[in-house]
Amino acid sequence: MECAICLGPGQKRELELASPLLVAAGALGYAPLSLEAATRAAFGAFITPPLTARPLAGAASPRLARTTAGYVQHTGLRNPGLRQAIRLHARSWQRAGLPVVVALYGQTSGEFGDLAAQLAEVDWVQGLELHFPRHMAADEMAECARAASAESDVPCLVRLPFQGTIIAARACAEAGADALVVAAPPYARAMDEDGAWVHGPLHSPALAPAYAELLYEVARQVDVPLIGRGGIADIGDVLALVSAGAVAVQVDSLLWVQPAAGAWLYQSLEGEMTRRGAADWQAFVAHCRGNEIGHGPGDRTEPC
């Protein structure tokens, strides 16, 4: 597939994606090498689990409730902290042969600035993805994005919340985010098999149309590259996100259900490109958007 997505042009270090499919934060934990090489080659980047300044022990049990066509999982962001994660995993991340985007989680702009500064000298880090607490206000998110960008030479991706998405998108775009990820999973509450509540992000292919709608709305509000995620279970979900305005998409827990999903999504995308006569990814994106959304004033139909 001819694909040369460039995020953060003008940054000292740009993020070039050889495939529009990305491994979502946490989808492979710390272990991109767990994917077979053929499947790994389908991806344009590996995004680490969200890392914090200090280690987090994680949430107490119960952590998982299965729901109709999905699950609610609350892990409490268990991670060893940024420094230790790099010490433990940097070698395997580099060996995976994919650009590495480090996901960061913090509570304040100062924290994000410090985390980004720690990575400023790490030459194999090719991007940052900022994750925020659930109830953070849009202007605070924007401050965090500013702080991280100021300390970093690499593109700064911002993962938007599921609620208040448009306001957050405008604020973060204005703050200089290099790309917006649409969006974090919605919060939900479900009972596990012992009847105990689990409160946390809801993951489900049934949500794919809701993510497509969010992305469609965000695409009309900001002029920043958008990365879709959420609910992807087949090629139709990927095409919907691209048609709604995404330049790339993140594949998440589908990799647990269908370990070879990366490879068949990639092949299906190639098939779609051929079928539509698109010479490269940019042409394909333009074709998708032209067909699906390029009909009204203010529509952003130019490919990134």
Partner: protein, 259 residues
Amino acid sequence: MGKQHLAFVEACAEPVRGMRLLFLSCAGLSASAKPGQYVMVRCGQAYDPYLRYPLPIHRFMAGQGIALLFRPLGPGLSWLGGRRVGDALDLFGPCGHGFDLPQPGASLSLVSWGLGLAPLLGILDHTTGAVRLVMQVPTSQQLYPRELLPRQVEYVPYVGQRDSEGFWQAVAESCRWGERLYAAGVSARDLADADGAFRRLRQAVGMGSLGLRPALAQVWVQAEMACGQGFCQGCLVETRRGPRRACVEGPVFDLAELG
């Protein structure tokens, strides 16, 4: 590292009331898995249920396949329980850290309670020594049939409550008898229960000749798993070395490490 396998149902049965036994042809899994490991089973052809279900490998059919024993409750496992001979299944595995088995010929004590038997009996397919199986169930209809156990197994079934003295005396006696002990029936939540079965087991083993030395007594810990590959950090079990992921660092743990 596990792999995706296509398996076919060779036979199915209900050996115990309310439990389903599926024999699956899958030579790759039979050859690569060891007792105590599990497979992630896709229960359905679309995405409801979405996540795979972790099921312990119950028995091994040398070079041919594996058997799964489970309670067909909930949408996913009841779908699985409805599979018939010839149906195809999508499995991912083998997953996790299995039991550390001794040299052939050692005497082994197997202890289970409730519905925890499933992960233990695979050991029978990998040992030639004497085995004693102490099993507690609430009613006689839930007893595992003697005829499904190899002749070398001394079967000590106990029908009654889990906290009854008779059962724990049988467990304590078995701890004195065997050179190794393998137990199942413990859930991750049981580990914190000061009066629960896990504490009783620990006490029984500690007082027996095995003591709590690593590898001599091991426990299969049941934990809810989403990914089965160590990615999601959702199946943590508290150990003396801190939280461990049951899906890859377990589900078999040294008893000495727990509680």
